[in-house]
């Protein structure tokens, strides 16, 4: 089954799953209230968005300059920078570091870029033990599942399901209390933190001016990942660049507001190097892996270059009527929701993933929600246009050619209308069934009745 058929099949099931809908609506309802309150606290959220968009525009449109500045600054403090054109290269770089260190146990804080390159699979394949330490990621890892949402990985699960999972996998006592469940995970992961040889993190921002990465989190797991193991590895896409340290004064509160409706996320931490002379803790070695993996192809598409502004806040997922109905896993991609539908065709092939750009009501809620003003719903349209231009389907070609003939010949047009009026009563008998010639449309949509009289006829009679 190809990606599109799988998507349609899963989407149909999930859209009818009322239990799923209830869980997601409840979680996102609370999010919306918190987010709106935070947005209102800004002197001008709209002007903040414009400034954020312009700052990211500057970063992406001078990316070569900023990448050189970033790496020069961060290397000067003893950090080893690696460049990876592909996912396979990034996996190999990280595996080589792990082998060199003869590491046995690895802890990892949340990183969507690591999901993108399927890092955990590669590490496990090499016989290594890697444990996710963000609570939500830990839960989905125990379930052998991909994260459901880029910010809330375990949003689709109830406390009962998590309690069952912990009983089965960790041997804990059943409980209905989210706090107790969190403490079970805290105890299990504390041991891992203290004994891990390597800590792997992602990054939210990379600061060119000072050569630092910035990590945003609520739990303190990334702080511990960057404090305890002797070796630290950070994997980030080349688009994470921000020009100045002071830009974070804008981006940190905007990420928190758009992402979770918080004024600021619990821990926002900037790292500028491994343990420096005179410092008492932190990793002895720090490796930063910069990943391209088709980002430069998206950069070359000037029309959609702003999709690289994305700060992975998840705001567009949270407001998307499609996401809310079909859920995160249905997309079958690392990045789901509107941003996933826009960038996946660039990252993994337009023809294989063009269906995601069609699975949209084009309502524009995503574009309005985006804190860095990515023109998301227009990009969905552009993907549709590009896909059709690159490889038009026979059905569409025939359809549109016939329509051109019909629309250019008034007599043919008049005949078609008469024909529709005459045959529609027959079509009504089979409407929505596989016998209906318009089945692909009518199985999920209404087909309005043709008017009993055309405007032209009515006008003529009136005279």
């Amino acid at each position: 089954m190809n990606f599109a058929s799988q998507f349609l099949k899963d989407a149909r099931v999930m859209a009818g799953d009322l239990r799923h809908r209830k869980i997601i609506r409840a979680a996102l309802g609370n999010y919306e209230i918190a987010r709106d309150k935070r947005k209102a606290s800004f002197q001008s959220w709209e002007s903040a968005r414009q400034l954020a968009a312009e700052t990211k525009w500057d970063a992406l449109n001078h990316l070569d300059k900023y990448l050189v500045e970033f790496t020069a600054k961060i290397e000067a403090r003893g950090t080893k920078v690696h460049w990876a054109s592909t996912a396979a290269q990034a996996r190999e770089i990280i595996l080589q570091i792990v082998r060199d260190k003869k590491a046995r146990s690895i802890i990892k804080s949340k990183a969507m870029t690591a999901e993108e390159i399927h890092l955990n699979d590669a590490l496990e394949h090499a016989g290594l033990n890697v444990v996710e330490n963000d609570l939500g990621e830990f839960i989905v890892q125990l379930r052998h599942e991909a994260p459901y949402h880029i910010v809330f990985p375990s949003m689709h699960l109830t406390r009962g399901e998590i309690s069952d999972l912990f009983q089965r996998e960790l041997g804990s006592a059943p409980t209905n209390d989210p706090e107790e469940l969190t403490m079970i995970a805290r105890r299990a992961l504390r041991k891992k933190f203290l004994t891990a040889d390597i800590g792997i993190t992602g990054a939210n921002f990379a600061i060119a001016e000072t050569g630092m990465i910035s990590i945003t989190e609520n739990e303190g797991n990334a702080r511990l990942t960057a404090a305890l193991p002797k070796t630290m590895i950070s994997l980030l896409g080349i688009e994470k660049i921000l020009p100045k340290l002071g830009d974070l004064a804008l981006f940190l509160p905007m990420l928190a507001t758009a992402g979770t409706g918080q004024p600021l996320t619990g821990y926002n931490t900037m790292y500028g190097g491994p343990r420096q002379p005179g410092e008492s803790d932190g990793p002895e070695e720090w490796h930063v892996v910069l990943l391209d993996n088709h980002r430069t192809e998206l950069l070359a598409d000037a029309e959609q270059r702003d999709a690289l502004h994305c700060i992975r806040c998840g705001a567009c997922l949270n407001v998307c009527p499609i996401f809310k109905n079909i859920g995160g896993h249905t997309y079958g991609t690392t990045y789901s929701g509107p941003i996933g539908s826009v960038i996946t065709p660039h990252l993994r092939g337009l023809q294989d993933w063009k269906h995601l750009s069609n699975a949209s009501s084009l309502c524009g809620a995503c574009t309005e929600a985006c804190p860095v003003k990515i023109d998301l719903h227009h990009h969905l349209l552009q993907n549709r246009r590009n896909a059709a231009a690159q490889q038009p389907t026979l059905k569409e070609q025939i359809g549109f050619k016939s329509f051109v003939q019909l629309a250019n010949h008034p007599k043919l047009w008049a005949f078609a209308k008469k024909f529709a009026r005459l045959t529609q009563p027959l079509q009504k008998l089979v409407r929505g069934t596989p016998l209906d010639p318009g089945y692909h449309w009518t199985q999920t949509r209404d087909l309005p009745d043709v008017a009993p009289e055309t405007f032209k006829d009515w006008w003529r009679k009136r005279k």
Partner: protein, 227 residues
């Protein structure tokens, strides 16, 4: 050509085509980028101008974050406040670092102290009931505590023990995030610490049914003693 050069070459090639400016919906291509004159401070949540307003805002934000903010009349009250928490929570082991404020206080607790600003054993830190540290600033706008590994005893002290107590002076309060970054630049630009962290409330998670739980991996409690 190595991967670095290959990636940079692809970036340069890609950037030969100018991108439309944000918000133009791709309708007009404006290749010349004019840096905006606006600054974050103009748009971020408003902060009062007087010290009293800023202090009140910090206290309000800290309360919302479920941090315990205690405003003390004098430096002497630090000792009393700390002794009170120590006896309530029955501290057995304390972790801290050398510093002007911490030195004058932690000795009075009469408890073994694990110092984390020189080489230390992480298992010794892990059994501590509390980590007591200084900070670089308090941020009124967000209720955050700004620490660095240089000012606050390394990377782990403020996040490994179940309770983090911050000792601060009133004059360390800054109005907003831009001011906090300006302070960092003034203080450290020549040689930044390898870790800088904005701590906004105790460790938290909402990963189970989006219900707030404190103490996910870091401290369950954050106490800020300010005189």
């Amino acid at each position: 050509m190595n991967e670095r050069e290959k990636i940079l070459a692809r970036v340069r090639e890609a950037l030969k085509t100018p991108a439309p400016l944000p918000g133009s919906h791709g309708e007009t291509h404006l290749p010349v980028f004019e840096k905006t004159v606006s600054t974050p401070r103009q748009w971020l949540p408003k902060v009062g101008e007087t010290f009293e307003e800023q202090l009140a805002l910090f206290a309000k934000n800290a309360a919302e974050l479920k941090a315990d903010f205690q405003l003390l009349a004098s430096r002497d009250e630090l000792k009393t406040a700390l002794a009170k928490i120590s006896s309530t929570e029955d501290w057995k082991h304390v972790a801290s670092h050398r510093g002007e404020l911490t030195d004058s206080i932690s000795g009075s607790l009469n408890l073994p102290i694990c110092f984390t600003d020189k080489n230390y054993d992480v298992h010794e830190l892990e059994i501590c009931d509390v980590g007591i540290s200084e900070c670089d600033a308090l941020v009124a706008q967000t209720g955050s505590v700004l620490v660095t590994n240089r000012s606050a005893g390394g990377r782990a002290l403020s996040v490994l023990p179940p309770h983090h107590v911050v000792l601060a002076r009133r004059e360390q309060l800054v109005a907003d995030l831009p001011a906090a970054f300006e302070l960092l630049q003034q203080k450290y630009a020549a040689n930044y610490p390898s870790m800088i962290s904005f701590i906004t409330g105790p460790s938290r998670t909402g990963d189970i049914e989006r219900i707030l739980v404190l103490g996910a991996h870091g401290p369950k409690k954050l106490t800020i003693l300010c005189f």
